[in-house]
Symmetry: C2
Subunit: 161 residues, 2 copies
Amino acid sequence: MKEQEEAERRFMLRAAELAAYAVDHGLGGPFRAVVVKDGVIVGEGYNQVTSANDPTAHAEVMAIRNACQQLESFQLTGCEIYSSCEPCPMCLGAIYWARPEKLIYGSTRFDAANAGFDDAFIYHELALPENQRNLRISFQPHQKAVEVFRHWKDRENKTTY
Amino acid sequence: MKEQEEAERRFMLRAAELAAYAVDHGLGGPFRAVVVKDGVIVGEGYNQVTSANDPTAHAEVMAIRNACQQLESFQLTGCEIYSSCEPCPMCLGAIYWARPEKLIYGSTRFDAANAGFDDAFIYHELALPENQRNLRISFQPHQKAVEVFRHWKDRENKTTY
């Protein structure tokens, strides 16, 4: 137990200490994430939104993608994800899809909001009914968009996720 | 107005009709997204989770990344995103960060859930208090993880997003 706690502190220290890297190198925002499996780092990521022209290039998303390439898997089974900050809804969603064992974070969405980041705003938006959100959203039901799920269910030898 | 409606139907038809592409080619799930600016397609994406070993490679994320590369911008200002299905929380979060004008979708999270996808489950999880979620989550406050935000605020000539 003590060993596990020490390991958690060590990996969190790494994520937190290196969160300044993307800022100092003009790559993106002050965030870093580390993916660990069996006590070994298998993936890392830092924010690259503005330098890579990619609004999805958050630390956690980059760390997940990096770890999945290393592990040659689309799942992070048995892994822990350390993030310098509480993940935004996009990153938390990504974490759910990656299905790691555990998430550990070192600062909150409110710390991020104080520095001008939209994390808390987006959490608030997602909790609202669609027609009360800031983003204009239109549901335009389309038969083919539903039928394609039947097509998927009927298909044999597919890889589910 | 009528012209706008016709355009919306046309782009939704494209997203819906081609949603089977990833399934038929063994690339991933039955989803497709199209990004449009001023009536022209500037980005497209389909699900590549299982073939690319990337749990974040959903149709909307791929379409946003593709459009941002085309437009050489980390923002989709003035764009519309058409998705064959209601975006999952990860993709909806990505859409908020990309800041398009509008989102249009053609089937729902419940259609996706019926076909075995976790979209509705993840929406449900995100609405729960952290300690009631299925995912193990631990907040391990770290001074450096908070201080890095001050570092960011103090930095001049940075690109905000």
